[in-house]
Amino acid sequence: MIVIFLLIPLSIVTAAVFLMGFIWAVRSGQYEDTCTPSLRSLMDDNGSKQNEKANE
């Protein structure tokens, strides 16, 4: 069971890395806008013409 002393820190470190990612995301303004990203992902760059047929 001593292996749990490997798994717990490892899980915590993993979580810490993600926490860093979260802090970075918040502080760099990733989440300031929670509206337009969902709309922008819908727009294909110039795909509107190329994918015309598929979208029909």
């Binding site: 069971m1 001593i2 292996v3 749990i4 002393f5 490997l6 798994l7 820190p9 490892l10 899980s11 470190v13 993993t14 979580a15 810490a16 890395v17 993600f18 860093m20 990612g21 979260f22 970075w24 995301a25 502080r27 760099s28 303004g29 990733q30 989440y31 806008d33 929670t34 509206c35 990203p37 969902s38 709309l39 922008r40 992902s41 819908l42 294909d44 760059d45 110039n46 795909g47 190329q50 994918n51 047929k53 598929a54 979208n55 029909e56």
Partner: protein, 737 residues
Amino acid sequence: MMNAAVINPELQAPAARASAVETFRYDNRIVRAFAIATVVWGLVGMSAGLLLAVELFFPGANLDWQFVTFGRLRPVHTNAVVFAFVGNGMFTGIYYSLQRLCKARMFSDKLSWLNFWGWNAIIVAAAITLPMGLTTSKEYAELEWPIKIAIGVVWVAFTINLLGTIVQRREKHIYVAIWFYIATALTVAILHIVNGLEVPVSLWKGYSIYAGVQDALVQWWYGHNAVAFFLTTPYLGLMYYYLPKAANRPIFSYRLSIIHFWALIFIYIWAGPHHLLYTALPDWAQSLGMVFSIMLVAPSWGGMLNGLLTLRGAWDKVRQDPVLKFMVGAVTAYGMATLEGPTLAIKTVNSLSHYTDWTIAHVHTAALGWNGLLTFSVLYWLFPRLYRTQLWSTRLANYHFWIALLGMTFYVIPMYISGITEGMMWKQFSEDGFLQYPNFLQTVQQIIPFYQLRAIGGSLYILGVWLMAYNLWRTARAGQFAPEEEVRAASYRSQAGAPQDAAFTHRWLESKPILLTGLALIAVLIGGLIEIIPMIVIKENVPTISSVRPYTGLELLGRDIYIREGCVGCHSQMIRPFRSETERYGEYSKAGEFVYDHPFLWGSKRTGPDLQRIGGKYPDAWHYNHLDDPRATSPVSIMPRYPWLFTQKLDTTSLPARISALRRVGVPYPAGYESKAPKELEQQAAKVVGNLAAGLIKAPPDREIIAVIAYLQRLGTDIKAAPPAAASPATGPRAIK
């Protein structure tokens, strides 16, 4: 990008900034390659599953051919659907959506193709080695160490490609799907490495560095998170990209999707021990796993509702569009499976459901429903776009949906009935306080009809995939493939707010020396842990039960054949502390009994009875006859025959290598035991042959069957033996009397 990077756009005139438009191309070839592999491996993996399903009610279906017995084929099926079908499906979806979400081509074409060919070569290697019985026997981590290393290399290539593309993005915002992809890449790498640590014996055999309880805990920490971070997070990423795309409306709540992501990844990693409830794992670890598993309902359902509510006001589209139908099916299945999972993780429920077909029903709701249907929807959506045409037949795709749904129903419902039936029959006591069904075969006989129904369900599901393959092929033929898609987008640095952002990460870190030190410490700590922990782990394997001894040479070889044949796929070696189990199987299992088990063989399914206390229960001759033809000793048994164990010679040449490898992972074989073991092996084999002769069976002593019998007769007997005399050291295998 390089040119623009040199000049600080802040210093330029606004006109110049606005003109910083770059032209680049999306790589569609790699997407197509993964998409085709997805369909092919899907058919292969599911067909293997169907054969397994048939073998369960028609045990002769392997035609007595050792390469396709249930035990050997099961890992082929699970690996093929998880890593080949869903794996390629995941890469298909990621390689298409990532480029578009980042407005950038994949970081490196070379890495993309290394990812594709490497991954598929690994799958081919798996399809060859697993039927040959080259397996670690750890679920979803069966591949032996050379292939494991290859997986690590390819996965790193994928991760670099993913992160590189994100760094080169032209879109400041990292869309939520990408976060799911990042979590997948990083976490799978860690899980794979920690669980895969082995000491090699030969090119195709290694022993897990962990033993018994520890191996079980690491395995299910991995196993559960393989479900979480291989089958769930990447597919949630795909859902967040493709569902809004297909519905042509934004996700219901982008804010909820962000909460979904962060909540999910912080909780998921702790839930693993729910696979080991009521086993010899310490109770507090079990409770921890249970609590976190129940907490998982919240983020999971948040995500499901977010997906379904995206379609509010668009349900008319669902009626016509097969892509949306498949997505609704997938997301609904996700919701069902993520409610059921936490339910099964409650100890009380688990005491009934564990080892039964209920688990099989649960995983297939998730695999056929969530992963399968979502993959199909993505493929149906992608092919017309890759080939600049319309789907060849919407009607056929709609048929596929209903056939798939029918197939799932015929699969899952019989498995629920069978699972609950098994669970209740195993636990049922008569009024006199005896087991109502003391013969395990009574419970097997009862569920055969459900196994047959399940095979019908599986066949229907596969029929649907064939329809899809044909439809996609016709679509491809009708259209014109666009290998490269030219796009124009504003460069990253020309966008407002970007420069600060680009320099942000490092500036922020540099301004925080304490934080930087902390991070460095964590990095060093990880390295140190990987170095130090195996040593501590080994040290702890000093038996707490003094009569527990390492396996003898013959038993060890027998155990490795048991592993090769995949016996663990149907037989557990873990008696839980319930009266119904101790009555049926004997004394409940104790952690101290497994300290020399590299790997652990607790199993997670009882298609046949538990074997923890099989040692000494029947005479050697019974095992001999049973393995030759299970129905000779147990009339309605669904176990396959093992005739090759009687013809194949036992390979004793590798015994010294096996013993020294095990000593390196902490099994206390005395020094020089390698040279003594072959002699001892012969003596023990002669003893088994003698026992068989007493049962009027004439058997040569050098066949594999002798080793298997020796192993089975040893199982679970150590705690009954008298502890060694105080004078003799508690090491070394028990002398053969």
